[in-house]
Symmetry: C2
Subunit: 386 residues, 2 copies
């Protein structure tokens, strides 16, 4: 007699391996659209697609979960259209987990004529000037309509640098909005994550984290990082947030995509990342490799018949040369951007798969040292890599 295997309810977070000498751990976060093996990198699908990629490309390259942008989707096509088409998963044909942000960050960075009110933000679309209001209730209603697996609380992300009083006010607003977000209706099985703000001020980060935990969320993010601060400040901010978050819940650092910074964050106990880097840089012609990046458009690659990254198993590297992809990029062929996006996403996914394997094998510190050494060596070697 076999026991029927039951799927754990959404929100279940199993910690599978904990590193002995750092905060790194591997885990499995269950969502309404399946499990996510952590640490995980989430490619960004701003407008209902990870730019240039189809759902089958995501699967083929090991993507587990993607991020959708509430701000962009509320503007175009509008949440009512996505809802009428059966939600974001069905609309874009992606059956795996989706995390949506709250829209707050883009309202602050993209929208026109915004006015911050105690209850939310009034703003105009950067596309056509249409007026919108985004408060905690609106942000959650939109994410509910999109039907994402993980919704993020609306927060206020102050700029860097930022004086302590402004940072404190942003924390207050973030906390009061988080309490309201927690009370909103959710899509079936939808998880909600709170976001730690506090700028570069450790006591603010601590207070924000503790009060969010008191409200109680399915997971916690560290926000307001990688907004222009130097790397040491960035890493301290992450540590200042994470150290006060519960070990048993997933932790997510928003907007971080640098390999070295992500490894350092994993060592602090971070489980989830998202960033536009692999996709945006592909559009600029930059190839990522495990140990650096290089501009494929450069003249030195015009006769280079090697793949973008030797030993890489992605479709682009198995079939095409640097010379070909360089040509496509230089003549403005869309396929060049697509092939480089496939490679970059594959590279990020492989990097995290390797990192998870290292943690699971109890070899995270060794792996981390080797990674740093290879990266250093590559930097020294030069040859257009950076």
């Amino acid at each position: 007699m076999t026991t029927p295997q039951t799927t754990p309810p959404p929100g279940t977070f199993e910690i599978l391996h904990a590193d002995a000498s750092s905060g790194a751990r591997t885990g499995r976060l269950w969502t309404a659209h399946g499990p996510i093996e952590t640490p995980v990198f989430m490619p960004v699908g701003t407008q209902g697609t990870v730019k240039t990629l189809e759902p089958r490309d995501l699967t083929e390259n090991g993507v587990q979960v993607i991020l959708g942008n509430t701000y962009h989707l509320m503007l175009r096509p509008g949440v009512s259209i996505v809802e009428a088409c059966g939600g974001l998963h069905r609309f874009m044909g992606w059956g795996g987990p989706i995390l949506t942000d709250s829209g707050g960050f883009q309202v602050f960075s993209l929208a026109n004529l915004r006015k911050v009110r105690p209850g939310g933000v009034e703003f105009q679309s950067h596309i056509d000037g249409t007026k919108f209001f985004l408060g905690p209730a609106e942000a959650m209603a939109i994410q509910r309509g999109l039907g994402s697996d993980i919704a993020m609380c609306l927060d206020e992300c102050p700029p860097y640098p930022c004086d302590p009083q402004t940072a404190c006010q942003a924390v207050d607003k973030t906390l009061s909005w988080a309490a309201l977000c927690k009370r909103q209706a959710r899509a079936p099985g939808q998880l909600v994550f709170g976001i730690v703000q506090g700028g570069e001020y450790a006591p603010l980060r601590e207070r924000c984290a503790r009060e969010l935990v008191a409200i109680g969320f399915d997971g916690y993010a560290v926000g307001g990082v990688s907004v222009g601060e130097p790397e040491p400040v960035l890493l301290r901010e992450i540590d200042d947030g994470v150290r006060h978050l519960p070990v048993a819940r997933p932790r997510y650092v928003m907007g971080l995509g640098d390999f070295g910074q992500m490894v350092a964050s994993v060592a602090c106990g971070v489980d989830m990342f998202d960033c536009v880097m692999p996709t945006r840089h592909a559009r600029n012609g930059t190839a990522f490799t495990r140990h650096g990046s290089f501009p494929v458009k450069a003249g030195e690659y015009k006769l280079d018949t090697r793949p973008v990254e030797e030993g890489c198993g992605c479709y682009a590297c198995r079939h095409f040369s640097r010379a070909y992809i360089r040509h496509l990029l230089n003549v403005g062929e869309i396929l060049g951007v697509r092939l480089l996006t496939i490679h970059n996403v594959h590279c990020y996914m492989g990097f995290f798969r390797e990192m998870r394997a290292a943690i699971a094998a109890g070899a995270f510190e060794t792996w981390r040292r080797e990674f740093a050494a290879k990266r250093q060596e590559q930097r020294g070697a030069g040859s257009g890599e950076s």
Copy 2:
């Protein structure tokens, strides 16, 4: 005892079925990169890619042979780079047959400051002004370097309308260049096709066809059509050329992509077509269906959860709605163009597969009448289709 199957040498053209009541036939043209079932449509891969598509997409959608543009490839990346990378097949990762044009048509339509000399054309790149000379020897040398399976003779394509004397001079030049092209060295197994010019003048088309046949080519094209003339003139020009070409060799009409005109041409005995329509129109947001086309970007599709073409088996139609593709096109997502390109190419390939099956079944006339009736009906129905 089984007889080992031998592959017929490149240039072998087997006529499999000949229609009893028209000139239509199905055939198999053998090339150095495999056989081509005719009648066939060749998508255009101007700059070393069928825009937005990978070789695996071509295979998945039933593409047998693609066209590469000599003019674009000689400018960027340059034939020496393609040659150094192992030829065009290897450069772009496509293992099937490739036909290359001679570059002449693009020199006349795109290049700057061109001067026609008896021996060829002097021109400047429309990209950076670099000076080039393209004569019969150069056109064949480039196509040899690219390593295409079918090379086209350099010809002079006069505009429409065109007086008889100009058309006659273009025929004279086309014939003298064809004789020179015939004598040039070829890539291994490379076939060479002659091109019938003559404008709207039946006696010129006849003379050109007869003299090309006297020189002797692996196949023959009708050129200088679909350059602005009304449809009845166009169809007469095709018939005027084809009727003087040998039944036993493949016949190709250059630059034709309209379903009705292609069916009429097949009825005259044409075997091969190429056109930018399915790919270029996808970039404008136009979807082709078997019986018409429609602009997917139109507002009426914003909530339309049907696929682009109901019953279509392409990846785009199996997974995505008109509403989703419309959204992608409207926000400028590359994926929208790619999905529509996949659909349009699939639609063209399916159309030709159906036509070949009808000819093989002795039902070409019935199929042709039904096609015309459905098309007419769709036109009457309106609903944004045209």
